[in-house]
Assembly symmetry: C2
Homo-oligomer: 243 residues x 2
Amino acid sequence: MNQATAAIIVIGNEILSGKVVDMNSSYLAKELRTLGVALERILVIPDDVDVIAAAVSDYSSRFRWVFTSGGVGPTHDDVTIAGVALALGVRVVRHPLLEEQIQKFSGGKVDEAGLKLAEVPEGAELIYDEGLSFPVLLARNVYILPGIPELFRAKFQALRARFASSPFHLRVVYLRAAETALVPFLNATLRAFPALLLGSYPKWNDPEYHVKVTLESKDAAYVERAFAHLLAQIPPELVVRTE
Amino acid sequence: MNQATAAIIVIGNEILSGKVVDMNSSYLAKELRTLGVALERILVIPDDVDVIAAAVSDYSSRFRWVFTSGGVGPTHDDVTIAGVALALGVRVVRHPLLEEQIQKFSGGKVDEAGLKLAEVPEGAELIYDEGLSFPVLLARNVYILPGIPELFRAKFQALRARFASSPFHLRVVYLRAAETALVPFLNATLRAFPALLLGSYPKWNDPEYHVKVTLESKDAAYVERAFAHLLAQIPPELVVRTE
């Protein structure tokens, strides 16, 4: 798996029950795109060990990097560590370095609940960074991140450089036309540039434009040629602007 | 499958590539909860017929209702209909009523792209509603909804009454305490009320509270007893307020 692909697994009943809006996956989607990583799945699942294990097992074998969000606190509904361990076929163990850190942090008065924070899937790597008070857990190709958005972002920022890949190059055309009228132009460009990532997105009730067309590839010259090909076909009066 | 369970499949490269933030799944999660429906999965996947088919096939057999969002326009990247048809083992056909409506709408000047909007998985039901200019497609237990948030919401509102189930009853306790300190109380309540849906959500940097605890069940009396049980254990000075 040399390709830079990724999946996000968001773990939390609070998202599925509509109590909390997941902010982490849209944040990470943007970050990964900037880095040149192709995000292939976002999956939101309940706090259930077996469901987590099935998802992690599936995605960790199919995609290069998997990121989990949530379910890593001290309470009964924090079962991500157990789910990842089950997926990878390893035990849950208390990591001596984490235990030491937690003991130190709480002046030696740590109870069982506090020690749950020292649990990891056996063999997990601890990634330390000067910007982090607590390390990130990496189990095989699964980065285990907390659900709290501020912590999720801080941890991802500490990891960010690991995922730098060749970037996607993007061109955008904003149009004032019905999407159906654009189909022949889009299809012609796609026939000439079959490897192009071409998207067409109608906007509802926007005074400026009706459709946003995106052209992307990791090959900058290819995008530029496809962009010119598309613009050469479309009547100029339909084009609002380009980026 | 008598239980009121559901899954949402969001189809769109634009979400995975971070260009657009999905608003439909968080909207639908809230709506379904209000209706008493247990949302079990939210999955975001690319515009890929085989990936769509695999997800629809899996979820439509495991959950009572499946909602798809996106991929139903006239362009090359709109492949949801083909994916759902493949999942259900049926052909894609042009629906005569939709074709007639589209012909009428465009004064008889419909091209191939326009007619793509008349395509359905064979055997799909058209659901008409006075609030909708275009019907909703229902293929077996899969409701096929558009990605544009305004249309997605209008269509779901037209369907809403179909999903009314017995409601969830919710109690909330806001606390000023470290989450680890609450673990013994939460676990004791869960031992006494094993069927309780109990959630614990730390908030970062909130001046009012540190942890929000939610108690839920479809049995209102059960929730009230669990709520009283939990409050009886927690030192009152830790409780900021309850709902």
